[in-house]
């Protein structure tokens, strides 16, 4: 029996799971951990180390440890936010072909999909050990606002790891699926997903087995990492003031402060104040320093107020886009580690006038949804797979699937149908420099529309159309996507040729373009290379 893995490929941590008849089973790491750090180390001693073991090298070899690859995957390296993010990591990123970010470690050059494929391969190996069978298919989750390039690159990472990525699903949608599967509900819910590096809000309508996203928005450069960095900056200033050393140019020192900041942040989610010392700071003069700190929850809340406000603003925008008032939402799901921060939950409760649901595990619910979708796509779902049955974690060797003869009952459960949405408006540039909208943000996917283009000059054999993503009227105010080229056109007087171009966004949120000459019906070449994305492999 083919088993497909559900994978939540996170910025800081990843979780993998499979759907079994008794519930969702998590894939455990070498130490029995459910949560696998999305960290890949290339240590001095050679080889590649992934997961919790890779984290150990962060202090000794900071420039050989690749973390937060999700912040760069499928991105255009020239984008200002990407440039800013590069200043926040201690490994080297350079520009590669097609404006892709490339990691340089020692003498190796690797693309971001290659880095992420190491994480996926690690999860695949853990799963194969646990289940005793080969795993070839997977459903991987991505932030709802991930663009075309980021989605293509994530799919590429799966391919490199030897996985057929059956589907990319959006993280908030996956959480909603884990929450509502098998419960036959009629309700409106909001999913607030504030993770390590990305932030999303989706509003969904559950209608029996239908999970329809009504509106979604977010920010793929807003997450727990940013909160850690804000606190680390404060610690760095303290270090400068007390120890008379500015740690900012020293990679290892800053990593240590970032780790300290993360620990303080987590402590402040439970307690009103954090006081202590960060020990073992390797000072530039070779000595070992210790930095005392004392910070209250209130001070921390002030420090991150701007970030939290942004999440509240986006949440309100999504409600407006969905044409709903907060009181119509009957449950609010909190997903992602950053939703453990009390001020985040408090502000969310203010927006919706109700406390967010606290019965779901913010770290695991996305992978549960991915596992359910993987089960659905392979048609191996059974009644007890949802959250309602709680997660049955089997130890390796006791998994119902590893027995080999375990047959999953099929056909007695309604397969869920996910109706997700297009993350951003896709437009083309008009002659006057404005945009013409082709596919709207929040339109249901898969979706297809056709548009007719013509030539502007006599005997023109090539038409180039600039495509962009974004909501602004002026072309230059949007994010450039790439140039659509219609080539080898038959020479005709201008305006005579009618080229029908079809723009299709598939269920993965990935754009496909094809063209046909309307008069002759002959298929034309249409190629859109998305900037920052890997070369397209036409296997899907």
């Amino acid at each position: 029996m083919a088993v497909a893995l559900g994978i939540d490929l996170g910025t800081t941590n990843s979780v993998a799971a499979i759907a079994t008849p008794t519930g969702v089973e998590f894939i455990l790491g070498p130490r029995g951990e459910r949560v696998h750090p999305s960290v890949v180390a290339f240590p001095q001693s050679g080889g590649v180390v992934v997961g919790s073991d890779a984290k150990r090298y962060r202090l000794t070899e900071p420039s050989h440890v690749i973390h937060s690859a999700k912040r760069f995957i499928g991105q255009n390296i020239r984008a200002p936010l990407v440039q800013l993010a590069i200043t926040g990591v201690r490994y080297k990123i350079v520009e590669g072909p097609n404006q892709q970010p490339i990691v340089e470690v020692r003498d190796r050059r690797m693309t971001m999909p290659e880095i992420s494929s190491h994480v996926l391969q690690h999860l695949k190996r853990c799963a194969e050990r646990q289940l005793g069978s080969e795993i070839l298919e997977a459903v991987i989750t991505v932030p709802a606002n991930f663009t075309d390039g980021q989605r293509q690159a994530t799919k590429e990472a799966g391919r490199l790891a030897g996985l057929d990525v059956m589907r990319l699903i959006n993280e908030p949608t996956a959480a909603a699926l884990a929450y509502g599967f098998g419960r036959d509900r009629q309700q409106l819910i909001a999913v607030f997903d504030f993770g390590g590096g990305t932030f999303d809000v989706s509003v969904l309508r559950l209608n029996g087995e239908i999970f329809e996203v009504i509106a979604s928005d977010g920010d793929f450069f807003l997450g727990g990492d940013d909160l850690d960095r804000a606190l680390a900056e404060v610690l760095a200033a303290e270090c400068h003031r007390i120890l008379r050393v500015d740690p900012r140019p020293h990679a290892a020192l800053m990593v240590k402060l970032m780790m300290g900041a993360e620990a303080i942040k987590c402590h402040l989610s439970e307690y009103d104040a954090a006081e202590g010392e960060i020990e073992g700071l390797d000072m530039p003069d070779g000595s070992s320093g210790r930095l005392p700190f004392a910070i209250t929850r209130h001070q921390f809340e002030d420090l991150i107020a701007g970030y939290v406000q942004r999440t509240v603003d986006v949440t309100r925008q999504v409600l407006t886009a969905a044409n709903l008032s907060p009181s119509q939402i009957s449950d609010v799901l909190c997903v992602g580690g950053s939703t453990r921060i009390p001020v985040v939950r408090r502000r969310l409760a203010e927006v919706f006038g109700r406390e967010p649901n606290n019965r779901i595990n913010p770290d695991e619910v996305v992978s549960q949804g991915a596992a359910i979708q993987a089960g659905s796509l392979t048609d191996t779902l059974s009644e007890g797979t949802g959250m309602a049955a709680r997660d049955a974690v089997a130890t390796p060797g006791h998994s119902p699937l590893s027995l080999g003869n375990a047959r999953l009952p099929t056909g007695d459960v309604k397969r869920p149908v996910l109706l997700d949405v297009n993350p951003a408006t896709l437009s083309i540039q008009t002659v006057s420099g404005f945009t013409q909208r082709l596919l709207d943000k929040n339109a249901p996917i898969p979706i297809e529309r056709t548009h007719v283009f013509t030539t502007a000059r006599d005997n023109q054999t090539r038409v180039e159309i600039d495509c962009c993503r974004g909501e602004q009227r002026k072309y230059v105010d949007n994010e450039p996507l790439g140039t659509l080229v219609l080539d080898n056109l038959p020479p005709r007087p201008r305006g005579e040729l009618k080229i029908e171009v079809s723009f299709r966004v598939d269920a993965n949120g990935i754009l496909h373009v094809s063209a046909a000459d309307q008069v002759s019906g002959v298929r034309q070449e249409a190629h859109l290379q998305v900037l920052g994305a890997p070369e397209k492999h036409e296997d899907a």
Partner: protein, 155 residues
């Protein structure tokens, strides 16, 4: 197997229509409410969503996927055509649409559409005003005018 045959017939019907109106693809009345459109779309999704037919012959699946994708666009069009307008302005709950204006107004409206597609906002504005002069009752036209005026302000 007959469910599958029905599905293929449906897909061929959807793809065979020349310039279909959104409500035709959703198989609802033109004056249906958004809620009715949503229920119609969900009903189609329950039987035709490509995820449910992964084991189908790839060529047939492509057909179903394209038909479903067309219907998704129709659903979006129907929703955005109806949602922007407050319920109270609709005659008996009907969504205003270009079909309800007089034929003279429609001629001007089509010209306005063409001009707007070319990005000629001023020309579009003028044509829309002519259309309103021909059919002063049309809510659809007045709202189209308001949108163009907004765009001119922002441009």
């Amino acid at each position: 197997m007959s469910a599958r045959a029905d599905l293929l017939l449906w897909a061929q019907r959807v793809l065979g229509q020349k310039k279909p109106r959104p409500h035709q693809l959703l198989e609802i009345r033109e004056d249906a409410t958004v809620e009715q459109a949503t229920q119609a779309f969900h009903k189609i999704a329950r039987s035709a969503h490509p995820d449910l037919h992964r084991t189908m012959d790839p060529e047939d699946l492509e057909l179903v996927t394209r038909a479903y994708s067309r219907v998704a666009a129709a659903y979006q069009d129907f929703r955005s055509g109806a949602r922007d307008r407050p319920e109270s302005q609709r005659p008996a709950g009907a969504a205003p649409s270009s079909a309800q204006m007089s034929s003279k107004a429609l001629v001007y409206y089509r010209k306005a559409e063409l001009a707007l597609k070319r990005g000629e906002l001023q020309v579009g504005l003028l044509q829309l005003k002519m259309a309103i002069a021909a059919d002063p009752q049309s809510v659809f036209l007045r709202e189209a005018l308001a949108r163009v005026e907004d765009e001119l302000k922002n441009a």
